[in-house]
Amino acid sequence: MKSTRSRIKLRELIYLSILIALGIVLNLIEPPISPIPGAKLGLANIVILLALLFFGESEAIVVALLRAILSAFFKGMLHPIPLFTSMGGSIMAAIAMILVYDLCRKHFSIVGISIIGGIVNNLAQFFIVLYITKNSALWYYLPILLFLGGISGWVIGLITKILYNKTKTVVRNGS
């Protein structure tokens, strides 16, 4: 009995580390959308959402936190503004997705949860940049950011839905 349980814990650990590694790589290779500064697709939200769907709430927070810190190390950017925006954005997105997933799972699909996550991600990054720079002209940039957050959340939700449906039998049953 005990060995079965520890094998399950070990499998969960391995899947979580695979998810974190995938998140780092997706964050490193994702293409920037050139005409608008600061707008990115946010492909790393895929792994946070997958960790939430497969394993649960605390694991999603752990994946979000470790993904942000480790990808900052890999990029070599420990400058406070990119580090804080990336970390705060992904943790706030994870918190929002957890709340939506726990409280009204019946009314939201995976795509809906992902859209909420994308919007909250951009909103949190906006407020962090606003708090650091104290430049009130940034408020004019907020509607564009919210719109782009919704669009990128939609795209990421579609990708995550496909990935979840393809891999859920493998992750749940182990083979």
Partner: protein, 80 residues
């Protein structure tokens, strides 16, 4: 209450405390009552032991928003 659920309750309490404190600071600019805070702890001190230096300090910051956030998130945890 099994271990998973206890973990989730701790997560909810921490999320509620953080979000409530931030909201308390933000809303406190309009209604100053929400940002009436106590901050306790001790500032960093250095213990010099000749072969090593230890520095340690911790400060907690609690306002009305923290309390409201924790209670709200405990309620949310109980209804899920």
């Amino acid at each position: 209450m099994d271990r998973k659920r206890l973990q989730l309750m701790m997560l909810y309490i921490i999320i509620g405390a953080i979000l409530g404190t931030i909201l308390g600071i933000g809303v406190g600019k309009v209604f100053p009552m929400l940002n009436s805070a106590v901050s306790f702890g001790f500032s960093p001190f250095t213990l010099n032991l000749a072969i090593m230096d230890l520095t340690f300090g911790i400060t907690f910051y609690l306002n009305i928003g923290t309390v409201v956030g924790v209670i709200l998130f405990l309620y949310l945890f109980l209804i899920i």
